[in-house]
């Protein structure tokens, strides 16, 4: 995989150099480097509170490096790209990704834009804040960063990762978040500026539903339709509505016998309102998954009902509310707090003693941001986290230094 990535990058690099030699385009570059210091309580885990258990004791380490480019061939044609080096799910700093690489076409005198390649999944508000400089907080909302008991290899398994353990490709598997925090999708996308700065709509045909995290590994028949509408009811208020439906299973021997795909339906709404030095924003997401139920100890799938399709419907919802105050006398400095929750519905077959298909989670985060120079951002955040039915110690303190240009 790494070899293939390197080859792709080399080809891209050669193409860019060739194009530059012939002066066919303008290239804009920007980037950022994030360094972090973090502390997590005893039960910290990347899939639960974002702090890897190997790096919970005041670990100071690189978090992320991004190189972002925009190549403009003309007003109608341009390429957006993002190369990302990040931690491997909170652990080793060695994950190199082409997180964005897409070709865009804006037909002359039309309100349309068409995108082909790897682009940011249009679902939700948080996906549009992919860079740390656009985020008030360090952790990602639970809907994007908390790994539930649903796996792209087997479907649903109660207590996946914590109680029942499944190893795939020599890695302990913990499931998937509702909407993967790195937020990329592969496919095609159309954007329609219905009324510039007032109303816009996006629709994407992608190769996997938004919960799939490394969606280069897709089955050819995987698909997802992801859409979003944004409008501005008043000068101080922006509102978004997103809907997505699609499949997400990866090729694996564990699911080969199922012979069919399984889907996620995701519906969300988000808003942002601001006046003076205050801003309030939030997002609500409801997810419904149609998945098989895998019993890890016996290595077999359960049947919901011999007369019914071999899947279970598992729902959850998530909501977060962010409040941000900027100090008028210290430009670039802010104080913010987030209330965040992820609530799971009940299982519908009676096989499990659990009444919910995963544990409900609540998190409260307080963050302070300071921008001492126009190219530096320092953020500090303390998060209190609670999981129902558990007495786990999951609070975290994190601080990051972001240098950007």
């Amino acid at each position: 995989m790494k070899d293939r990535s390197i080859h792709i990058l080399l080809i891209i690099f050669c193409c860019l150099v060739s194009l530059q030699v012939f002066g066919q385009f303008q290239a804009k570059f920007s980037g950022n480097v994030d360094l972090g210091l973090q502390y997590g309580e005893a039960d910290s885990h990347f899939y639960i509170n974002g702090v890897h258990k190997n790096h919970k004791n005041w670990a100071f380490r690189p978090v992320e490096i991004n190189l972002i480019t925009r190549l403009e061939f003309s007003e109608q044609w341009f390429v957006n790209g993002r190369l990302q080096l990040e931690q491997d799910e909170g652990n080793t700093f060695d994950q190199f990704r082409v997180s964005q690489l897409n070709l865009n076409w804006v037909p002359d005198d039309t309100p349309w834009q068409f995108t082909l390649g790897r682009f940011i999944n249009p679902f939700g508000a948080f996906n549009q804040k992919q860079l740390s400089i656009n985020r008030s907080f360090i952790d990602v909302p639970l809907a994007y960063g908390y790994y539930t008991n649903i796996s792209p290899y087997i479907g649903y398994a109660p207590g996946l990762g914590e109680v029942q353990q499944l190893s795939v490709d020599n890695r302990l598997h913990w499931g998937l978040p509702n909407n993967y925090y790195n937020g990329y999708s592969n496919g095609i996308k159309a954007k329609w500026a219905v009324k510039p700065n007032k109303l816009s709509a996006e629709i994407a045909l992608a190769t996997a539903a938004p919960l799939e995290q490394k969606n280069l590994n897709f089955k050819p028949w995987n698909y997802a339709v992801i859409s979003r509408v944004m409008w501005q009811p008043a000068f101080f208020w922006k509102q978004g509505v997103s809907i997505s439906y699609g499949s997400f299973f990866r090729d694996n021997a564990l699911n080969a016998i199922l012979g069919q795909q399984f889907n996620q339906l995701l519906i969300g709404t988000d808003f942002k309102a601001g006046i003076g030095f205050f801003e309030i924003s939030g997002e609500f997401t409801w997810a419904s998954h149609q998945v098989p139920w895998y019993d890890i100890p016996t290595g077999s799938y359960l049947d919901a009902d011999p007369e019914a399709p071999p899947y279970f419907t598992l729902n959850n919802w998530s909501a977060y509310l962010d409040l941000r105050y900027e100090f008028s006398f210290l430009p670039g400095t802010y104080l913010a707090c987030r209330l965040d929750t992820l609530q799971f519905g009940e299982t519908d077959n009676g096989y499990s003693a659990q009444s919910h298909w995963d544990n409900n989670v609540r998190r409260f985060t307080l963050a302070l941001g300071v921008q001492p120079q126009s190219f530096l951002l320092v953020r500090m955040a303390y998060a209190l986290q609670n999981i129902s039915s558990q007495n786990a110690d999951l609070n975290t303190f994190r601080t990051t230094l972001t240098a950007f240009f």
Partner: protein, 234 residues
């Protein structure tokens, strides 16, 4: 001395059109300085401003604004007297407008102590601020139709940005001299009726990190001096 305001660049162009008919050789002003700025070539590679994930949908009004507000039309030439201390008065009304997610003008030259009115003509809020070490103000989110006055007490280049729209960047150039102008779309500039003396010339183009000095000019006894400035890279 003239009063400079938001329309200054357009007045300047107008003045050139009438007075010079587009030719430097026809100038008949006394104690004046004229010249032409050769603009930098459009860079193939630009660091910064990639505006992550920005879409390409640009409205027609914004396209027009981008032409009028191009960096090459925002080159400020200032003369800083060496032999005397000029009287520097705050400007009567300097306006920095936000329209179509753009600061107009891209570079606003003012005299130290002037009040800049930050005006929003968009139908949504902006969150305009400047940062240390050059400037320090934060007006917060303001709706359309409200002019927020900000007094600029320091001298230097103040970078202005919008927290809401990171692609928005502008400059306020606060000067300790009343002798400044902008080059017109042909790159021509003119300083009429300058007092006798030597002047340190400074030039600022938005692609520069800060104003640059371009030598000393001496003007006396009705001199019609000419100094051309080449900003194009070799």
């Amino acid at each position: 001395m003239y009063k400079t305001n938001i329309l200054f660049p357009f007045f300047s162009i107008f003045y050139f059109s009438i007075a010079f008919g587009g030719s430097l050789t026809e100038i008949k002003a006394q104690n004046s300085l004229i010249g032409k700025v050769t603009m930098p070539k459009e860079r193939v590679l630009k660091i910064g401003g990639s505006n992550y994930n920005a879409d390409g949908l640009v409205s027609d009004p914004k396209k027009r604004i981008e032409i009028e507000n191009h960096p090459d039309r925002n080159v400020v030439i200032s003369l800083h007297p060496i032999d005397f201390t000029p009287m520097v008065k705050p400007m009567a009304r300097a306006i920095l407008t936000q329209k179509e997610k753009t600061f107009i003008p891209h570079v606003l030259p003012i005299t130290k102590g002037s009040v800049v009115y930050i005006s929003n003509e968009d139908e949504f809020y902006h969150n305009v601020h400047s940062k240390k070490p050059f400037g320090l103000f934060n007006i917060g989110r303001k709706e359309a139709g409200i002019d927020v006055p900000v007094t600029i007490r320091q001298v230097g280049l103040i970078r202005v940005a919008c927290n809401e729209h990171t692609e928005m960047k502008g400059f306020i150039l606060s000067l300790d001299t009343p002798y400044f102008t902008k080059a017109n779309k042909e790159g021509l500039y003119n300083f009429p009726d300058l007092p006798d003396g030597r002047y340190q010339m400074q030039v600022f183009h938005p692609d520069m990190k800060r104003p640059r000095e371009y030598g000393i000019v001496e003007i006396k006894n009705g001199t019609r001096a000419e100094k051309n400035i080449n900003l194009a890279r070799p």
